[in-house]
């Protein structure tokens, strides 16, 4: 594993990604200390210019401090990103593993089920789910998870299909191990690398989906979100650009950092893919 960390650390993009992501995580954790008080309250005169000594990112039409909304918005982005990814992994890995290991009609049924979800435009489905259940962090996490598990299931199934015919799996059968034990104890640890890479990209996609839902006014009304700020600042972008540009930059940097990290992990796990030219 030390080889993995060495290769990961030598990837400049990945290190920068880690740094940005760490800043976002710290902002989210220490939000009440960095920007005390409710981010929704009026903190100053409306439409204070950016780079004002009191409010360095300015305030919006209702006098809310933009910096405070960014700091608090980081929380909901990470909760939705992390929560939805975990839930999607749970569904995707289980279904993919069972389909890939069992094969036959079980595989057919599970894959048709997966394709059913893939054939519906995912954003519309997420909108629908959030609109049916009241908008809340819980319903958003559920909606994002429901639309993002199919790719996981497909990747895990493909890995299992190739791993299950390996002799070490046959050896486990001959030793008398049960199906559950073989799936989770023998095969899954060998399928982890693509899952890890995929999940870092999924966190990024989930954050974007949450922002898009909030932008359309379907965010949780009780928590501050970057998407909501971009949406509410949209109508005044020509007179108060800072109200939507700064949350937009925050969103952009967070998603970029996750993509850099994902790519770094992928390269570090498959060093040969990129050395081929030199061989």
């Amino acid at each position: 594993m030390s080889g993995f960390w060495k290769r990961f650390a030598s990837n400049k993009g990945a290190v920068i990604g880690c740094f940005i992501f760490a800043v976002v995580v710290l902002l989210a954790i220490f939000a009440p200390l960095i920007a005390p008080g409710d981010p929704w309250r009026m903190a100053g005169p409306p439409r204070t210019d950016a780079f004002d000594p009191e409010h360095w990112m300015g305030t919006d039409m209702l006098g809310r401090d933009v910096w405070a909304t960014i700091v608090h918005g980081a929380r909901v982005s990470l909760i939705v990103g992390g929560g939805a990814t975990l839930a999607a992994l749970l569904i995707g890995v289980t279904l993919g593993a069972v389909a890939g290991y069992c094969g036959g009609w079980i595989d057919d049924v599970l894959m048709r089920f997966t394709e059913f979800f893939q054939s519906i435009p995912s954003f519309i489905l997420a909108l629908l789910i959030v609109a049916i259940f009241q908008p809340s962090v819980g319903s958003i996490v559920t909606a994002v998870a429901i639309v993002s598990w199919p790719p996981v299931a497909r990747v895990v199934r493909a890995e299992f299909l190739s791993l299950r015919s390996r002799e070490f799996v046959q050896a486990a059968v001959v030793l008398g191990q049960g199906t559950t034990q073989i799936i989770f104890g023998q095969i899954l640890p060998n399928a982890l690398s693509p899952i890890v890479v995929l999940s870092s990209f999924m966190v990024a996609t989930a954050i974007l989906l949450e922002a898009a839902l909030s932008f359309l006014g379907l965010g949780d009304p009780n928590v501050m979100s970057w998407g909501f700020m971009i949406g509410s600042g949209r109508s005044t972008i020509r007179i108060a650009w800072w109200t939507s540009v700064f949350p937009g930059v925050a969103l952009f940097l967070t998603v970029l950092s996750l993509n850099l990290i994902g790519e770094g992990i992928s390269d570090a796990l498959n060093p040969r893919l990129h050395d081929r030219g030199e061989a």
């Binding site: 002799e167 070490f168 046959q170 486990a172 030793l175 034990q181």
Partner: protein, 536 residues
């Protein structure tokens, strides 16, 4: 030598830094004369293939030739430009590879691929090239060459593909042919045919042949002179008879001694009740999809055999003969479609997996591929302890047992906390054996356990298996494609072909008076069978 076609003088090829030695090939010198077959023989990692690649100018960039010269037709090939090398490659020096499956382009008819070689060197026109391709296919003994010339590679068998590769190599009548393990991936009867073909070429066309192999049987069959390589150096170089019958270097002696002998042992009469009874077991697969007509494929056809307690039976056959399928039916990795299997008097066909689980302790298996048969994410201790833990032994006790077993199979007990990738192929096979023995089985099924190993390692692992068998009073079904190995380890041999057991008997009977025509063909095809008589 004045008639030397090719002279390699003091050639060294560097390994990248951090390798186990500074040079892949170090200071090797040899010559190849017209019409001569020089065999380079050695175990994996000895540098034999690198030497062949160096002559073809196919060394990867990380492995540069740092010293010496390769002289051919007055030129030093190492100093030649890319264009100069390209003109020689294929035209004067041709090469055939180990894997005929991947060396041909799967989406191009074979005739076109042969014509391509001619076209690349500006020979003839499309019509004449096609005629020449058919001519070449006839020459290498492809049946109905007029049709085969338009066939795609997937239509051909492995042996036929290798013949096509040879036809391609011969297209421009090269003066040197380099063969890199050309028969390793082939069945023994096909191998014998290809070796005859190569022999003929050398005699009729006077081609100088450099033949790289790990198999001393093949060497005995085909070589005029032999170069033995170890750790990148040529340790012995001489005529076939001198090297085989009077080896000077200790490493050569060790290699030759490691080749299993065709022993004609008499059966040690075993008068014990049978442990394994297989009665008319069949396995039929149905090929064809939703719309295509389904056709049956008989992997195993009504195979019957009995194993007495303490007996070793070798199941011998070529690829696709159904020997592995039959073995997998016994451990129920595959469900047979017909027939019955009794172990220790209990029928195991048709009972549920739950009923079968306690019986699994009695039947264990050792697998072929030392790299795929151990879970790469688990430590060796866990791998060995898994079986006993699954059957209810406490973890700490199982770990203690794993340590004992490691010592028993000749590995350091301290290595229980290491991962499989830290071990060599032979060591992994020992771990696989320890895993099977951890359940103290009565019946051990060994599926080609030594086929992927170098000959000297193979000898050690075979000896270990025989030791363990005697010590734990095991009954063993040993599956192999190699009659030499079978004769060394088995009390009885069963020969399989197309899913059927065609002959069964003691090694003495099988080798002394084979009854079935196929058994005779198999025995005749053993490479170096003529050398057997003169072996010390």
């Amino acid at each position: 030598m004045s008639d030397a076609l090719l002279t390699v003088d003091g050639l060294s090829v560097a390994l990248p830094r951090g390798g186990d030695r500074p040079h892949a090939v170090e200071d090797i010198s040899f010559t190849l004369a017209k019409g001569e077959i020089l065999c380079i023989v050695g175990e994996s990692g000895s540098g034999k293939s690198i030497s062949a690649s160096a002559i073809m100018g196919l060394l990867p960039k990380r492995l540069p030739a740092v010293k010496g010269s390769i002289t051919f037709g007055g030129h030093d090939l190492l100093k030649l430009s890319k264009e100069g090398m390209r003109a020689i490659r294929g035209k004067d020096i041709a090469m055939i590879f180990q894997e005929p499956m991947t060396a041909l382009n799967p989406i191009m008819p074979v005739g076109k691929q042969i014509a391509e070689v001619l076209e690349a060197h500006g020979e003839g026109n499309p019509a004449s090239r096609r005629v020449r391709a058919i001519e070449l296919l006839t020459e290498v003994g492809i049946p109905s060459p007029e049709q085969t010339v338009d066939a795609y590679p997937f239509r051909l068998s492995g042996g036929q593909r290798q013949r096509v590769m040879i036809a391609m190599a011969l297209a421009l009548k090269p003066s040197i042919l380099i063969c890199d393990e050309p028969t390793t991936a082939l069945d023994v009867t096909t191998q014998a045919q290809i070796l005859v073909l190569i022999r003929d070429l050398q005699q009729n066309q006077g081609t100088g042949i450099l033949f790289v192999t790990h198999d001393f049987g093949v060497v005995a069959e085909i070589a005029d002179r032999i170069a033995v390589m170890q750790h990148g150096k040529i340790v012995e170089l001489g005529t076939r008879d001198a090297v085989l019958d009077n080896p000077q270097h200790p490493y050569t002696r060790k290699l030759i001694d490691a080749v299993p002998r065709l022993a004609m042992r008499k059966k040690v009469t075993v008068n014990t009740p049978p442990l394994l009874q297989i009665d008319r077991v069949s396995k039929t697969y149905w090929r064809g999809g939703l719309f295509a007509k389904k056709t049956p494929v008989h992997a195993v056809k009504e195979a019957s055999l009995t194993l007495a307690r303490g007996e070793t039976l070798a199941l011998v056959g070529e690829s696709g003969s159904g020997k592995s399928t039959l073995a997998r039916c016994i451990v129920r990795l595959i469900e047979p479609t017909g027939g019955t299997i009794h172990v220790d008097g209990r029928e195991i066909t048709g009972i549920s997996q739950a009923e079968f689980k306690p019986l699994r302790r009695q039947i264990q298996m050792v697998f072929q591929d030392p790299f795929a048969s151990l879970n790469p994410r688990k430590r060796v201790g866990e791998i060995i302890a898994e079986g006993p833990v699954t059957h209810g032994m406490a973890r700490s006790e199982a770990m203690g047992k794993a340590k004992e077993l490691l010592a028993l199979v000749g590995l350091d007990p301290a290595s229980i906390s290491r991962f499989p990738h830290e071990f060599s192929g032979g060591q992994r096979q020992r771990i696989g054996l320890a895993r099977a023995l951890a359940l103290e089985p009565e019946l051990l099924i060994a599926d080609e356990p030594v086929s992927a190993l170098d000959v000297s390692v193979q000898a050690q692992v075979l000896k270990l298996i025989a030791d363990m068998k005697a010590r734990m009073n095991l009954t063993m079904l040993f599956i192999t494609h190699d009659l030499r190995v079978a004769s060394e380890i088995a009390d009885r041999i069963a020969v399989m072909r197309y899913g059927e057991i065609v002959e069964m008997g003691t090694p003495m009977a099988i080798f002394g008076s084979p009854q079935h025509a196929y058994t005779r063909a198999l025995i005749d095809a053993i490479p170096g069978v003529g050398w057997e008589g003169t072996r010390r």
